[in-house]
Subunit: 533 residues, 2 copies
């Protein structure tokens, strides 16, 4: 394990940790410290893959088994002033768990009990360390679903969902994590344990559940939650509809949502993303490339472009079932996937209404196959992203959202702004009656680790500057973490001071996940983090 | 104007107010001060009607025309340390706007502009002083609805909805006010103006919109909001279904919600409330009375009971269209009203599914008439409540909520606890998949103003103690104000300290609506308020 700084933990502290958590639940090994030094933030992957560097390891990792241990730990951390970083399964993509200032990683995956399933109220009380898929699996066994299907479901926890304000692929029907939660138990920085009332709704002052949801470990440690569950759907129906361009596809989604039906998912792929979803492997090279690199020489461009498509092909490799079936008919068109689930009488009526709206927007009904294929492969893309990195390139996804009036111009403006620095494509998902999210995928590479880091930052700055201009949000569901902290400040404006005041009173010693969410005085330049250590 | 304390406003302050707001927008007249000394909190009505007392008048009232005036006012209030109480239309029923410590009432009804209706995004930007019905009326003209129909719609403002966490009669379809709002503009205590991002959703830290929603004027003054709107429904269908008892009616609602349909409204009346909704005037006297008064002598009981029914009859007088039509068939049964609205194909399918669920729970379909009658008379009860007071009695409504597993036992327990102090009936509404609210109506009276105040407090204490035991919320949609402040403390537990900390940093001089929401150190005994002044 090279290039990893030594732990700063002294013997007394180590003894305290082992006394509190038990020896098996404390580690200062360099292997563990390396593993917990990063999440799935692409920049930290660049550090590791380019030069095998893990510049921000924690001093120790502890695995909590109950909230009393957490309360004790926080009390000590306040006394000794060391950072505590709550950690679920590390699937975050914004560097939210990076121990920028060292400290202790508090892993809660051992707190993974399903405390109670309430059949009458359709609720489940869980400890937040449970992996999403494990919970879903157990619920399915009893005839229920949580309806929360982030593509990270196999490697993410309920605590992570709540802390980072997650949204799953069927969010249009089942809501986002903030809609799914009835109540929370939270250990505050001073060790106090609080619980919000478990009721479908109340008019009892500010919503404190929604204060902790999305706080990304900066205001408290979420240890338990009462979540909504639903009967497994009686029917699930799919459809693919093809549109001549992105504008008509967007118009179709807007019309569908406005009609009053509730799809489980609506996803519209732009021309390039449609090809990637549907193309045969060998055809992907002929894709209409937007990539206009600056700086590099022409032969390098070719090399890089080939490298990129090498990576793209690897993504496609992860979706063998999808590839090859639709390519011919899809070139230059945009595919809309729509699914409904629930009572079969209801879903049939809803699909009928939705298809009428699609037809009004010029859509061509392609039957259920494209939709079913998406469903069967819905998690694959995320788990094949890493192959792009192995080929020396990097990729990231930019999840923004806005109201309908802004969606199409926002899409074009972000593409235009980012194109000089990488290949960019997008799909539109998480539809609402009032707008939707745009999920951009960008693939690029740098000539060195530092060059890649600079280019990475340029991509984000270009994209999010456009969002700021449009009054769009800089994150629909990936959260803020470290990577978007400066942009959060811009988005919140004067509310950033409210957040800082809140942080100051709830965590006066700044022990909870310091350096994140723009709460620090100093500006943290994410590109500079690469060269610093 | 007797029994009204003098204004404490000095000449300098008055000059400042008139300079800032203009002479026509400032009043220190006793008539205005009396009018603004109370809202629709029944205890303050008791004070006024029994002895024509208005013990808590403001020192002045100002009518703001823009947020810059508000910002200036708050800066001065911080300097001079006087209370500012934001005021919409005064329809609150919890004493939330009572100027307990004097100060300035900040009426925002002149800030009533519809700034923009966005047809594409289905949003409306409004100043928060607009009356709910005025906004709805304008929207209807353009083919839209906000879908927010509190029974106070004619005498309440958007600002009041947001500040006090309102829910309308069609909340099951259109959501509650927190679901309807995309963004807010807020003037903070120090005069800073902040605005949250107007996006359907974001993962950008804690939800600051939801921090101000429900804060009842204690954390900031909400001046503008972007709200969701919807196309006017193509169809609206109604149904009444009769159940043999409350248990089977509750079971029907639970089944309907679980089936995946989305009613606009579901309302189940208990036996007594069913009679009141449906009975002929002369039959109401024969209602199965639960009233078991303690303390009074038997002849007084008769007198009081007659008085009460005098009041009840007056309520019924307000619903002439409802009375008399259903009485025969309804005795001892419970009426469920259900409505759907939207695309006619969808609503027909949904009604079919809902009626199947009702049949499974033993319901007897009574056709569309009971539902339509409810719709046509849906606001009448509230506006006839005051007649009860004119007869020397008092009435109040207790709006609690819980998950389905608790609903029926909670209903019986609250009824049992309150029955010694008044006549109590209830309906179940605002249904969710996971639970619903219970809306109790209590009618009682005291032998004097002080006796009535004591009895009033006993009723609330009895009801809310039961809620606390059950882990139900003490308010589904009426808010907290002054009357439930002590119970909010119990419900929030350790989170009350979080709220207090928040108040401390956002409003260090406690100028914003002081003495409310349990934020004061001192315990305010609402019954003692009656005898104090």
């Amino acid at each position: 394990m090279k290039n990893i700084p030594n732990t700063q933990l002294d013997e007394n502290m180590l003894k305290y940790l082992t006394d509190n958590f038990g020896e098996k639940n404390v580690s200062v090994s360099n292997t563990d410290r390396a593993a917990y030094s990063r999440d799935l933030w692409p920049l930290s992957t660049i550090w590791m893959l380019h030069e095998n560097r893990m510049p921000y390891p924690p001093d120790a990792i502890v695995w909590a088994e109950n909230e009393e241990q957490i309360a004790k730990l926080l009390k000590l951390a306040n006394e000794k002033k060391f950072p505590i970083i709550a950690y679920g399964a590390g699937s975050g993509v914004c560097g939210g768990t990076l121990p920028l200032y060292g400290g202790v990683i508090l892993d809660i995956k051992k707190m993974d009990k399903i405390v109670e399933i309430n059949d009458k109220s359709l609720t489940v009380r869980v400890q937040t360390g449970i992996i999403g898929q494990h919970l879903e699996h157990e619920l399915n066994h009893k005839g229920y679903t949580m309806g929360h299907f982030p593509s990270s479901i196999y490697c993410s926890t309920v605590g992570g969902y709540l802390a980072a304000r997650s949204a799953g692929q069927l969010s249009t029907k089942y809501g986002k994590i903030e809609d799914m939660v009835l109540s929370l138990r939270v250990v505050l920085a001073d060790g106090t344990i609080v619980e919000t009332t478990s009721t479908p709704r109340s008019a009892t002052g500010p919503n404190f559940t929604q204060l902790f949801v999305g706080s990304e470990g900066t205001l408290g440690i979420i240890t338990e939650a009462v979540l909504k569950i639903y009967p497994l759907p009686e029917s699930r129906i799919f459809r693919g509809v093809l549109f001549k361009d992105i504008a008509s596809g967007i118009e179709a989604i807007r019309r569908i949502m406005r009609s009053g039906v509730t799809p489980a998912a609506v996803r519209l792929y732009d021309e390039l993303d449609t090809i990637l979803v549907g193309a045969k492997k060998e055809e992907s090279v002929e894709a209409p490339i937007q990539y206009e690199p600056e700086e590099e020489k022409e032969d390098l461009v070719k090399k890089v472009t080939h490298k990129i498509f090498d990576g793209l092909q690897n993504i496609l490799l992860g979706m063998p079932g999808v590839a090859g079936k639709l390519a011919e008919s899809l070139h230059g068109k945009c595919l809309l996937i729509i699914t409904f689930e629930g009572d079969s009488k209801l879903t049939e009526t809803e699909l009928k209404i939705a298809l009428e709206e699609c037809a009004k927007a010029g859509g061509e009904d392609k039957g259920e196959e494209p939709g079913r294929r998406w469903w069967e492969n819905r998690y694959n893309v995320s788990y094949n992203m890493s192959k792009v990195f192995w080929r020396g390139s990097f990729t990231d996804t930019i999840d923004v959202a806005a109201t309908w009036d802004k969606i199409e111009p926002l899409y074009h403006a972000v593409r235009k702004a980012v194109s000089p620095y990488g290949l960019i494509m997008a799909h539109f998902s998480h539809a609402y009656i009032h707008g939707c999210s745009i999920y951009f995928t960008v693939i690029s590479r740098g000539r060195s680790e530092e060059d890649a880091a600079k280019r990475y930052k340029k991509i984000w700055d270009a994209a999010l500057a456009v969002c700021a201009d449009f009054g769009a949000t800089v994150s629909h569901h990936h959260g803020i973490g470290l990577s978007k902290a400066q942009w959060l400040k811009k988005e919140l404006g004067g509310l950033m001071d409210v957040y800082r005041s809140l942080k100051q009173v709830l965590d006066p010693n700044n022990i909870l996940n310091p350096g994140k969410m723009g709460l620090t005085e100093e500006e943290i330049d994410i590109a500079a983090l690469t060269s610093k250590k």
